[in-house]
Symmetry: C2
Subunit: 503 residues, 2 copies
């Protein structure tokens, strides 16, 4: 459809009698036209004056709808030149899973939420795109460590020690940045284990990756700013970015990590979010050449790089490369990590390492925005690390997870031989099993869940699930060794049942 | 200055040779002109086309600056009619403390932050407006309970009990909304103590007021939406609103609580944030008539009311009125509370009670955005409440704080008689001592801090500190009885030294 016939197309579909406000109808119809490519990328939409005239509606209505579509990333407004359909429609940009629903004919949509049920635009998209699972434990939940092996007695001893000599300082609000002893201990640990170069003041304690990214994004970017995310990437962080108003551009990854094209490079983002140690969820390690390229590009274009060093502790075989942060000579890198995968997720302690020039602003903003506390747990953690429990726990778990990974690989090979290869198992707590091209990994995951097995469809991590490779994220960390093979056999039943239907 | 001479005024001040981008200069000059009232509220600014022509700069530059000013709330863009200076400039709207700096001549400003030091617009304003203190303990820190009286042995016993029988369910991520047992216990407690009517499913456990407000605001409003805040109000929540892009309109309070004028009522907000039980920081209780008015207005105009029921447990004398939530028959009220003031701030457990229709969305969004944990602490707290420790602790602390309050009032009367009256002491953990009109409460607070006494200037809680009444927030809760009179005498030294200078 050419833009010139848009007015007719819209006029045929707007329905003054159906009880829905014209604003909502027009908004939804334009979303449909863009998502379905009937209005192709780059095409110009009529001026608000013209469209209002042709549809016989108020110009304010049209303007408001256009502004909403700009905010949502469907169109770009170039002042003086007009309004154009964005190069990447939001289903590509943000990976909204309900793109199908949006693109469905208007009649089949549920009536818009109104009154007490009305979420905001950003709220509704957050809910529609939510990736969070109701299950947080059991075979093969990815991203969850075996918390039953956590040295609970050591932790309890530390707890009792601190509660016995409790002063008010550990029970009240956290000073900006968190407890000094933990920041000192972490600076030492990160220097030796991850080649991160920082003073304790550059470390900001948070409740985890979500809060770390939220803080960095709010301090360093404004609504509408561009951020590069890896494609695929972690859905949770994508939601955090989206709700803060960022426009995310998914960048393809290859075997060396994030791989921006010439088109990508031509539009420098304000931020980029990368997982160099272990691409999430595919598992490849970013090459040194790619790291250098990224740092140089960020330096030249004054971009911030958020380095999510998640899971870097768990490697089976090769040694990890040093962190990007350690290679950064111009203060462009924000390094984020967490104790959720090494100790236990419910602990809710993570951290940022920020460039020196930003340290004070981050500390202030953290206290101002989140009013954090949990200093007692921070004190316990500092001592837990300083006494060596942390590194010995990681060593122990690395051995355990390495065995479980091998047990899982054996079970998969036993069932499928080389037919369904697994990737990304060299590090982390899960591996990705590839499914035949064109197969529906969501259907497989649903069939598995019916059999009480949790796996996550790989396509859901991509910005465009419908074009993504098919596969399964299989977490082995929290599954006892002896349960792995039986659970995999149950999963194989689900795969076979679904792929037969597919074939 | 009339808008028609704006172009000349700007042309004289734009400096192509000073190394600052024209965009930044124009942005800052327009901010100055608005803040200094040279461009009065309601006046129309020239069209981007015209201004670009007259200044000989690109139209895109002007448009971008205008868009930035719209985002920041300096101007409103009425499509088809032009761009107008907002009724309330942002120093009034958001209470930016650095309004003076913004309004200063361009030459005296530090060079704009660039490169690695550059915060985003929202980040810079967050830092400039941050109210958080580096001190969190000691006479007379407001808002901090006496954590040394917390029943640490009971808490430790619960901790050890749960750690001994630890299953993975309490160590991993929280399901959306928090632990079922705590939500059940809270529903009972809130029904009996606060007349809150809800099912456990309507309760969403958070880390405190900040996260509760952040979640509600993101789910229920979009950037640019209007929110009513009480004037004065808590600075921390104001920062949370601001960084989420809300435009806040300060509404005066009288002895019956928030008191919107006809002008205010003519522009229904998307949300309002009120403290009915005990206005923060002035302490008055919202009258029943005002509560009914507010609920009816919200019903008619489909606004959400966020009821911050903070400190409602601590009343010395009168019984509190039932919560707004309990009076609400149309599901407009979001009730928020926390355990920070009743147990200890560092605990970081708070909650929202949301209308039934929103419960599932809030639970999902909470898990998606924050990925919370801390289930072990939630389990301990549920048992702590169910075993009766919570109510007995509150009873004990109410007696203790009532005594401390009286000791403080006596010390103040001893020093000043009726000259400096105290208000707001009927509830909560602080009272407000009025200072002579026109005196500089910030100077008094600074003089007190030099003497190691923490008080907060009342004017800082107002949207326009320069027009606000002068006073001090004096927290008595965390000061041992015997230290109150000596500490007050030190404070009186600071007051006398400063007020002499003032007189």
């Amino acid at each position: 459809m050419r833009a010139s016939v848009l007015s007719d197309w819209l006029a045929q579909r707007l329905d003054r009698g159906n009880g829905q406000p014209i604003y909502r109808q027009l908004h939804r119809l334009l979303q449909q036209a863009i998502l379905s490519r009937e209005l192709p990328a780059g095409s110009k939409v009529p001026s608000s004056r013209l469209l209002a005239q042709e549809l016989g509606i108020g110009r304010n209505t049209v303007t408001q709808v256009y502004e909403q579509l700009v905010l949502e990333g469907y169109v770009n407004s170039a002042t003086g030149r007009g309004t154009f359909v964005a190069d990447s429609a939001p289903d590509e940009i943000v990976g909204v899973p309900d793109a199908e629903a949006l693109a469905a004919p208007l009649e089949s949509l549920p009536p818009p939420l109104q009154g007490n049920r009305a979420l905001s635009t950003r709220g509704a998209r957050l809910i529609a795109g939510a990736g969070v699972s109701k299950r947080q434990w059991g075979a093969f939940m990815p991203g969850v460590p075996d918390v039953t092996k956590f040295p609970a007695r050591v932790w309890s001893r530390l707890h009792n020690k601190y509660w016995r000599r409790l002063g008010p300082d550990l029970l009240t609000y956290a000073p900006g940045g968190g407890l000094a002893s933990l920041r000192h201990t972490l600076a030492d640990y990160l220097r030796t284990s991850r080649s991160v170069r920082c003073t304790p003041e550059q470390i900001i304690i948070t409740t985890g990756i979500h809060q770390s990214v939220d803080l960095a994004v709010r301090l360093l970017s404004d609504p509408g700013d561009l951020i590069w995310t890896e494609d695929p990437c972690y859905w949770g962080v994508r939601s955090v970015l989206h709700v803060s108003g960022l426009q995310s551009r998914p960048i393809a990854v290859d075997e060396e990590g994030i791989n921006p094209s010439a088109d990508d490079l031509a539009q420098p983002p304000k931020l980029m979010l990368v997982t160099p140690s272990h691409q999430y969820p595919l598992g490849m390690v970013m090459s040194l050449a790619r790291r250098r390229m990224l740092l140089e590009y960020a330096r030249q274009n004054q971009c911030w790089i958020i380095e999510d060093d998640y899971d870097s502790e768990y490697r089976y075989g090769s040694r990890p490369l040093a962190s990007l942060q350690g290679l950064d000579t111009s203060g462009q890198v924000i390094y984020v990590g967490s104790f959720g995968k090494t100790l236990f997720p419910g602990l809710r302690i993570g951290y940022l390492v920020v460039p020196e020039a930003l340290a004070e602003s981050f500390a202030t903003a953290s206290a101002e925005l989140y009013r954090e506390g949990q200093l007692l747990q921070q004190a316990m953690l500092a001592e837990f690390i300083a006494e060596g429990h942390f590194t010995s726990h990681i060593r122990k778990m690395r051995t355990l997870y390495g065995q479980r990974r091998q047990t899982l690989l054996d079970a998969a090979a036993h069932c499928y031989g080389d037919a369904l290869p697994a990737v990304g198992g060299d590090a982390g707590l899960h591996l990705v099993m590839q499914l035949p091209a064109g197969s529906d990994d969501r259907a497989v995951a649903a069939a598995a869940l019916e059999r009480n097995i949790v796996v996550r469809p790989l396509s859901g991590y991509y910005a465009q699930p419908s074009l993504a490779p098919s596969g399964l994220l299989i977490g082995y960390a929290c599954v006892p060794d002896e349960e792995i093979a039986p659970a995999f056999n149950t999963l194989a039943d689900a795969i076979d049942a679904t792929l037969v239907q597919f074939a």
